[in-house]
Symmetry: D2
Subunit: 229 residues, 4 copies
Amino acid sequence: MERATFADMVFLLHQGELPTPEKRKLLDSILISVADHGSGAPSCATSRLVASGNRQSLSAAIAAGVLAIGDEHGGAGSLCMEMIAAGIQRAAKESLPLEETAARVVAEYRERRVNLPGIGHRWHSVDPRTAVLFDQARASGLAGDGIRFISAIETAVKEKIKPLPINVDGALAAVLHDLGFPPAAGKLFFIIGRVAGLSAEVQEEYQREKAMRIRIPVVYDGVPPRSLD
Amino acid sequence: MERATFADMVFLLHQGELPTPEKRKLLDSILISVADHGSGAPSCATSRLVASGNRQSLSAAIAAGVLAIGDEHGGAGSLCMEMIAAGIQRAAKESLPLEETAARVVAEYRERRVNLPGIGHRWHSVDPRTAVLFDQARASGLAGDGIRFISAIETAVKEKIKPLPINVDGALAAVLHDLGFPPAAGKLFFIIGRVAGLSAEVQEEYQREKAMRIRIPVVYDGVPPRSLD
Amino acid sequence: MERATFADMVFLLHQGELPTPEKRKLLDSILISVADHGSGAPSCATSRLVASGNRQSLSAAIAAGVLAIGDEHGGAGSLCMEMIAAGIQRAAKESLPLEETAARVVAEYRERRVNLPGIGHRWHSVDPRTAVLFDQARASGLAGDGIRFISAIETAVKEKIKPLPINVDGALAAVLHDLGFPPAAGKLFFIIGRVAGLSAEVQEEYQREKAMRIRIPVVYDGVPPRSLD
Amino acid sequence: MERATFADMVFLLHQGELPTPEKRKLLDSILISVADHGSGAPSCATSRLVASGNRQSLSAAIAAGVLAIGDEHGGAGSLCMEMIAAGIQRAAKESLPLEETAARVVAEYRERRVNLPGIGHRWHSVDPRTAVLFDQARASGLAGDGIRFISAIETAVKEKIKPLPINVDGALAAVLHDLGFPPAAGKLFFIIGRVAGLSAEVQEEYQREKAMRIRIPVVYDGVPPRSLD
């Protein structure tokens, strides 16, 4: 408590050792990058909805927001870490360069018509957060096979499909891999960071909004009225 | 399993005895009345939102919907049961008729500017579910002080404020009281019944909808862009 | 509310039609069979633990118990329904009798060293609940390919491995299949039934026990005390 | 992401401004002090129990642990912040010195036989974390009425009852008050910090333990076997 920061504590709890200042800086950047993404994200909207119906439990509102985090929301980092770990292992086993392995992985995902996790962005052609994370990792000598492999994936995508950026999920996946974390960490650190955002959303909902204010408009499209006798 | 119904089991688990057929019928009616209220209710919308972001866990989606149930959503039954239990106890202690006690309770709530739980409805001037529940209770000789007291509240409200119906929360509160349940049962049986509805909502969301389809539109109204340095 | 039971409502919500009395009876039996299994089951213990630390929210305690339900606890029914659905489809596609298909499935699970879902029981050599469910299904003419296939699995296991009974998960999986439900129903109906049990556990914990009474004894086996400087 | 730490982000999200380095240091200390307290705490035990029954969702396990956080577990900070805020407001309103107000508050809690939140510890006669937090606050000039009031409470307890230390909940309550946070922050920051610990517990449970390994021994003490006919 006297010298360490919370990021040190997060690192210590998950790896059993305190991080170097450079590793701590990267972890801080990762937690910051996922903390909040506006009230419309499923996790945040869920927390607010629960705070609207149940104002007796801050825990309930935050926990519900956490439950909205899955492979589809906040889970791309874990899926990308699995792809990176498998790719690097395969390169070693088959004595292939990372570039060649990445090209094969891209071809296989394409054949299976599955999106590559960590690649592409709905609006940006470059994700600015990726550059920040990779610059920090390179400047501190912590960039390793994770960043190399995801960059090789990016290159292969550009050559075979079209130019698509490494998004923030891909960037944090590569960096977490290079920091020595297993794939589950992609989701766990998303949760740790996002809980700070959920807490702030819930604090605002309690302070500023009335209960039951959120109404979701729904249009019924099922069977017409009928007798069930 | 050979003769009992699920409502028998619910009763047995909470009171330690199987119900008579008449009591079972009332419990069935109560569970049915709260099972579903459209996808726009906070509990249902929460379950769908979680199913949209996290498609790896049916449990997570249903649990999140349960978390939206609180005093403001699904909790009026418990609050009304507390009012009924306190009113009946007070009538006995102060040797007052239930009607006089109800009149005093209405006056006190009014003075404190607190809504009477179980009274009034946004659209209906009569709640049809109340008549069904009370008729069933009376026909089977199970109507007791609970129904008498909430009816006295309704009369006092009509005389002192304006005609307002006993809504479904008030009706199930009175009937659950007369069946011998404590106030917490108002919320517990709402949860048991509603989980059937949440399950059906989640089943439909998984089968028919794509992940991440739900976007909540949000307008930011905080401080304008600024430098944080 | 006037004639239907809660099991009718559960069926209606999930299939869009009211059940026949025979189908309703089977659904009642299934919901009863999973409602409670003692306070030591992970779902029940979780609800009690949460009620011990957080006494402001009945919803939180029940929701947490639901979260403990997964493939490993309460999920065998869904896994078994998937096996049954896949087996019947394969028999049709490859024009094989169900018996022969079952024999191949058993051989394949054995080769992959995966347990057959719905088969075997820690203590019973016969699970009495299976007989009740199957008798009810057969007596009402509702027994179909689901019961036939799981019985063929049981026979193949007896011949190739050793006599092992169809347990309650296997029995409800077969019956739910024959009632026309998809595999997810195995988990959903487990949740609907178990919530009744969780509610009763939480009611007792609030009424009878002090907060924070549950202490889980833990023995630390990590690294010894050390300086982190 | 380039200069800020995660504690900066947490502060920014809840107060709308970045903290000074001294404020950030205090927030780091608070988050560290609540992050983990061993696997036996209700929140941690709940997360592990859920991870034992449901291995399909990291979110479910962490969310369940959050649900165990309430007034009784992790909530003392919020309760103490309410006492501090009310005490300081009362001193101002009644033009009383903080010391005299604290003496009255202690007398009133004693009369109502309610424990003073933030005071006393099961094992320690001095809580070492309190000294660290208060020294940091004083050294950076951030100690204010919060620390003064809780210290006055400690003095009044010593004089009227017996010497009891300010525990970590009381210390973080006083410091959070002096940092300008409302009472809800006591629970919210406990949750943010503890989620890091829950994440590490869940990571270990998934990596090292088998599913369904946790059995809670239960002794039934209800009615003896009987016929329910």
